[in-house]
């Protein structure tokens, strides 16, 4: 039935084809909910106190960027990398080593505007090299290699005193001060984090429809066919790692500015797995997922302890709550919270039209 279709159907002429470009380019523009979220995020300092601003929303955005880098690799490229937090931590360490800290014997004392690009470049290189190793494998072996890189880096920072200062880590890391502003004070820092997160979010969304991102999705869907269209699959995968590493490195810099210190605890293997949980809970099909996952994770991590103590349980069991939530989401939605929300909306819609049946597309 396909071949002999009448050509006068709603056929758009090639010129008119690119018409829905604004909506296609930035779907947020047509979405009132997105405008509301953006407005709330912008006026957040008016409604939230310092604790909420940084400990909840700042941390959410930083973890969200790291999880976004995983979402880019896993959602578009089909590569699950467990080393994204390690790359962020590497960037943080490099910033502390090249910049100013409380350990003059280790830190080189470069100003922040030199230490930051240096750290970003080195962490991107580190992640790209790790990716070049990982792309030689598929599926579970990619996970194992990236996990091994993460674990190796954790133990290395623990045992190396010359650069990483062993298990103590590097403390009193200097943060940017310029134009008379202390950029680590709560409100300026919140806006810095928000700006970087927004930049990363829109960059990922933009890239998804650019040739590089489209081809990456082609690699995910069918690596053999994309090679048969003239693409070098491995080169594309390594390039995806490079981009994702840069995102994670940005978050790593923000992380070290936030805590003013970095230690092996910041790059532990279980922290790396947290990033995977955040991305899966939020959903890895769209860039907003990681941020939703990060918000849920941070709220649980912050308040579950008090909540559990209040109902008479051991507060250290908050991970149990996260784990149960993780299980529930994986059981009921292959696409995290976003997927749950979408199927719920669909049910409302089909329910309204009197249909009880479930839709098969998902």
């Amino acid at each position: 039935m396909s071949l002999i279709q009448p050509a006068e159907l709603p056929v758009v002429t090639p010129a008119g084809a690119a018409r829905p470009s604004t909506a296609g380019t930035w779907p947020e523009f047509d979405n009132p909910a997105a405008w509301i979220v953006a407005a709330i995020l912008l006026i957040m300092p008016l409604i939230a106190n310092g604790f909420f601003l940084i400990e909840i929303f700042g941390t959410t955005l930083i973890l969200g960027i790291i999880a976004l880098s995983l979402m880019f690799l896993a959602g578009y490229g089909g590569m699950v990398s467990l080393m994204q937090l390690t790359i962020a931590g590497f960037a943080g360490y490099m910033y502390a080593v090249f910049g100013v800290s409380g350990h003059p014997n280790i830190s080189l004392g470069w100003p922040w505007w030199l230490a930051t690009p240096m750290a970003l470049a080195l962490a991107t290189l580190f992640g790209t090299l790790g990716g070049a190793l990982a792309v030689r494998t598929e599926g579970i072996y990619t996970i194992m290699i990236t996990l091994a890189i993460g674990a190796a880096f954790y133990y290395f920072t623990n045992q190396n005193w010359a650069i990483f200062n062993g298990h103590t880590g590097i403390n009193n890391v200097a943060t940017p001060h310029f134009w008379g502003v202390d950029w680590r004070s709560d409100i300026p820092f919140y806006y810095v984090v928000l700006a970087v997160a927004a930049l990363c979010y829109f960059a990922v969304e933009y890239l998804a429809r650019a040739p590089f991102g489209l081809a990456l999705q082609g690699v995910r869907d069918n690596p053999r066919r994309i090679a048969a269209l003239g693409f070098n699959v491995n080169a594309h995968r390594v390039a995806a790692y490079a981009f994702a590493s840069f995102l994670a490195a940005l978050a790593g810099i923000l992380q070290v500015w936030n805590y003013r210190q970095i230690s092996p605890g910041s790059v532990g293997v279980e922290r790396g797995i947290d990033i995977l949980i955040i991305a899966i809970v939020g959903g890895i099909k769209r860039p907003v997922g990681p941020f939703i996952g990060a918000l849920i994770f941070v709220i649980l991590r912050t308040f579950a302890l008090d909540f559990l103590v209040k109902i008479g349980l051991d507060g250290n069991r908050f991970r149990l709550l996260i784990g149960l939530g993780f299980l529930a989401i994986v059981f009921w939605s292959s696409d995290g919270v976003i997927g749950l929300w979408e199927s719920w909306r669909r049910r409302i819609r089909t329910g309204a039209s009197g249909l009880r049946g479930k839709q098969s597309h998902g």
Binding site: A228, G230, A239
Partner: protein, 260 residues
């Protein structure tokens, strides 16, 4: 073996595709044994043979999906035996797959756009194609050529089988193909769709040669000028379509006898 293609290729500047002693082993099993074949530029040829004759393996060796275990493959006089698939594609070789190998998560237009992008520069471009992007326009034209314009914004996963087969062909026509390998393009098509397929194949520009694997004789013999008959991984016979059709050995093996 006195092959039509060999006689004709002497006339032309050189062969589009030249296989010399191509053998492909899977463990101890020889899927292809000592296949030698020459196809001149612009020639259209059918490869026939029963299941397991080595037809698809032949395609996989030519495109590099599985490199041959021994032998050489030359494409327009260039030795491509050791090339990865993407290098062969960039030189003008194309193929379609027997079972549609598309990108189900992407739209029809994006599938074709990727095919156009894969054989030109800017594969890593981080800039979205604009309204006047030349490749996007040629993708639109290709979508139009295979009558998929009404569904161009739909995800491929939502397409009907016949539409997916059409899209397979569109992907193989992207860029400037010099030689195309069609692997059972008519599989699963309705009679009307088959006619449309024949129309597409016969209206390809004359300089584009192809090899087609096709079980449907009505389709195969109407769109080719020469035939290679394969059996058990070897070239069994080569000739003109009507010679092959009336060849008693071939009839016994494939056309008439059928299921042994």
């Amino acid at each position: 073996m006195d092959s039509v293609a060999q006689r004709l290729s002497v006339v032309g500047a050189g062969a589009a595709l030249e296989l010399r002693g191509v053998t492909r082993l899977f463990g101890a099993l020889a899927a292809l044994t000592d296949v030698t074949m020459t196809v001149r530029p612009g020639e259209r040829r059918a490869v026939l043979g029963s299941n397991g004759a080595g037809k698809t393996t032949l395609f996989n060796c030519i495109t590099g999906d599985f490199p041959p275990s021994s032998g050489t493959i030359r494409f327009f006089n260039e030795d491509i035996t050791g090339f990865p698939p993407y290098e062969r594609i960039r030189r003008g070789l194309r193929r379609t797959y027997q079972i549609s190998a598309l990108f189900p998560g992407l739209t029809v237009l994006d599938n074709v756009y990727l095919a156009c992008r894969g054989v030109s520069r800017g594969r890593f471009s981080m800039l979205r194609p604009g309204q006047n992007d030349a490749l996007m326009q040629s993708a639109e034209a290709l979508v139009q050529a295979v009558h998929l314009t009404p569904v161009k914004q739909q995800r491929v996963a939502e397409l009907a089988h016949g539409q997916q087969r059409q899209l397979e062909i569109a992907l193989a026509l992207a860029g400037a193909p010099r030689f195309i390998l069609f692997d059972e393009p008519a599989a699963g098509l309705s009679p009307a769709e088959r006619l449309e397929l024949i129309d597409i194949l016969t209206s390809l520009p004359a300089h584009i040669g192809y090899i087609i694997i096709e079980h449907d004789m009505d389709v195969a013999l109407r769109v080719v000028e020469s035939v290679t008959m394969m059996h058990n991984g070897r070239v069994f016979k080569e000739g003109l379509p009507h010679d092959i059709e009336s060849d008693p050995e071939v009839q016994e093996l494939y056309l008439g006898g059928g299921h042994e």
